[in-house]
């Protein structure tokens, strides 16, 4: 097991390496000069030149890349062009916010998704199944930011008769539980829909398996058959989806973070792209990608725990 984990961790290196090349060339190709943006309006050419010199932007791209990677390998992601702070610090300040947001959203998605999916599967082709799946489809089809804005309209501002304590706080993260609810719902809804659908189809598949018949042939009750024998197997593909969703949340929280003024990785990256803060973009994308790969590793491991048959090679 530990050997497997080490191997998988090592396998992430080429992926991250690829990601770093991709980000670097991406940033290099994007028009826009960080020095110019930093200097702002009216700055003289000399000012811009000084800044460019300081940032090492005059060097050829491969040199810049190699220098950058040399530092990355030593755990140094460089300094933000704009604020001058270490990229690691900038990321640290936001990292946990995004992870937390994604985590709660995942919890919500899993909780709602599993319940809905199981009910749907057990009662498939009944009205409850159909209505759950229609709701799930709605969840999938809503633009995230639009949903978020709608939530703010309804639950933060709310109608006049709504009691004060029920009004959720529209912006921010981490000071107050009432700030958490709306963004978590916004981000988690799509995931819940996907998980519900996945759980349903996976459950239906598993319910048709021979070993479920075996369990029934042993005289087991429906509850035991569904929740013990079927669910544990059905969870395996669901976990993959959960992993992917969590990973997706990390990168995809951009919109939610913008709407709810949450200071997370997504917004950091977008802002950094806007201001051509290359080191931040590189660092953030690397971290997000790493996390994504890492979450998938966790998924693989839980695969193995849940279903020993799966050949991880």
């Amino acid at each position: 097991m530990s050997k497997f984990i080490i191997r998988r961790l090592l396998q992430t290196i080429p992926v991250l390496f690829g990601v770093s090349i991709l980000v670097f060339s991406m940033m290099y190709l994007i028009p826009g000069d960080p020095a110019q943006i930093m200097a702002g309006e009216g700055a003289s050419p000399k000012t811009v030149e000084q800044i460019r010199e300081k940032l090492g932007l005059n060097e050829p791209a491969p040199t810049q890349y190699l220098k950058y990677m040399k530092n990355v390998v030593q755990g140094d992601l460089g300094n933000s062009v704009r604020s001058g702070r270490a990229v690691t610090d900038e990321i640290k300040a936001r990292f946990w916010t995004t992870v937390e947001l994604s985590f709660y959203a995942t919890i919500l998605a899993v909780f709602l998704g599993l319940i809905a999916g199981i009910i749907s599967a057990v009662r498939h082709y009944t009205w409850s199944d159909i209505s759950i799946m229609i709701v799930a489809l709605f969840g999938l089809s809503m633009p995230n930011f639009w949903f978020g804005l709608m939530l703010i309209q309804w639950f933060a501002l709310g109608p006049d008769w709504m009691p004060e304590f029920m009004k959720m706080r529209p912006s921010g993260w981490g000071e107050d539980w009432r700030q958490l609810l709306l963004p978590v719902i916004t981000l988690g809804t799509g995931g819940a829909a996907i998980i519900a659908r996945m759980t349903r189809s996976s459950m239906l598949e598993v319910i048709g398996q021979d070993y479920i018949r075996t369990a029934r042939a042993k005289g087991m009750g429906e509850r035991v058959v569904i929740y013990r024998h079927a669910l544990k197997n059905a969870l395996i593909p669901v976990i993959t989806v959960v992993g992917l969703e969590f990973g997706g949340f990390l990168g995809g929280a951009v919109l939610t973070e913008s709407v709810f003024a949450i200071n997370g990785m997504g917004r950091l990256t977008i802002d950094a792209i806007r201001t051509r803060d290359f080191p931040i973009v590189q660092g953030a994308v690397l971290v997000i990608s790493f996390l994504f790969v890492f979450v998938n590793l966790l998924v693989d491991i839980s695969y193995r725990i849940l279903n020993k048959r799966i050949d991880l090679n």
Binding site: I6, R7, L10, N313
Partner: protein, 343 residues
């Protein structure tokens, strides 16, 4: 009788790498086929029998180079297949065909029967396109299907009929040798008989040679001239049908034959029930590969690899790979941990 050698397999090995370790290196091999040699003469049917995973299919696929063999030489009709370029090999494929086990998986579900046959002829450029339709009808009739079925899709046929389509496809390029890989195993007995009869009729009509792969000894006895018994990637016994079925020499062949239930309730039958499971082809046992389950196994068996050889009690061409053919024959060796049972 001067028999013409059609297919000669020498020292064939097929190892499949097992990837693993840090960077996906090859850490081991599945020794699916491990150094086997045999010859097939024109017009005969040679069967390969053995338990699941002993390398029967792999042998067939390696001959066809559907999987490039690890080692060994396959000579067909005077051409050394194993050293041909891919292109030259494509030409040879006209003479070498294969029929598969699964009647459902072996035809592209999106092609009509006529498409299937037409494609085969196109690939090998068998006939001018104008004449193909007529040939397709002829082929269908040969395998017992009707003209009006030519434009049907596979899902509209039963298993037995599909198998006939597979046979027609193989025949469409006028091959010399057909490898039948479990060609009737998936069929019901009543249908199986139809297909077996068809195969025999075709052999007579077109002078076909069959390499017949099966684990069903009833079928094998019915159709073969000679039989090869494989165990864990190696040939343990080879001989004509009568020698194998009436006078098996290798303890494995004996056990195999006795393990098959006989459809005759009045017949009291002794079964040699082997203990244990077939070992893995990844780390096959040293020495004789059968020694872990062999009731006669001796120390020597664990060390020395037996070679195929003949003995005075065996007729010409009958060979077995056992160190103790004589001793077993003479009753000098005693059964150890061996269960003989009457059902």
């Amino acid at each position: 009788m001067a028999k013409k050698e059609l297919l000669k397999v020498e020292g064939l090995k097929q190892y499949f790498p097992i990837k693993g370790g840090m960077m996906g290196r090859t850490i081991n091999h599945v020794k699916a086929v491990d150094d086997i040699s045999f010859t097939i003469y024109e017009g005969e049917t040679v069967s390969i029998v053995g338990e699941s995973g002993c390398g029967k299919s792999t042998t067939g696929r390696a001959i066809l180079r559907l999987e490039e063999p690890t080692e060994g030489v396959v000579t067909f009709n005077g051409h050394e297949l194993t050293s041909l370029s891919k292109r030259e090999m494509r030409k040879q494929r006209k003479d070498l065909q294969i029929i598969f086990q699964d009647p459902y998986a072996s035809i592209n579900p999106r092609q009509t029967v006529a498409d299937v046959l037409n494609e085969a002829m196109t690939i090998q450029n068998v006939l001018p396109p104008r004449e193909r339709r007529a040939r397709i009808i002829e082929l269908l009739e040969t395998v017992g299907l009707n003209e009006y079925q030519a434009d049907r899709y596979p899902h509209e046929f039963s298993g037995g009929q599909r198998q006939r389509i597979g046979i027609a496809r193989a025949l469409s390029v006028n091959p010399k040798l057909i490898i039948c890989d479990e060609a009737v195993s998936a069929l019901d007995v009543s249908i199986q008989a139809q297909v077996l009869n068809l195969l025999q009729d075709l052999q007579r009509e077109f002078k076909l040679t069959y390499l017949f792969i099966s684990h069903d000894l009833g079928v094998v006895r019915h159709i073969s001239d000679r039989v090869i018994v494989m165990y864990l990637g190696k040939i343990v016994e080879i001989g004509d049908k009568y020698s194998i079925f009436e006078n098996p020499k290798h303890p494995y062949t004996q056990a195999l034959l006795s393990a098959i239930p006989v459809p005759d309730p009045t017949r009291e039958k002794k079964h040699i029930v082997l203990t244990g499971d077939v070992p893995s082809p990844i780390d096959p046992p040293e020495g004789c590969r059968f020694h872990t389950r062999c009731p006669f196994a001796q120390e020597k068996c664990k060390v020395d690899v037996p070679v195929l050889r003949t003995h005075e009690s065996m007729i010409k061409g009958h060979k077995a790979a056992c160190h103790f053919v004589e001793e077993i024959e003479n009753g000098e060796l005693h059964v150890k941990g061996f269960e003989e049972a009457v059902f």
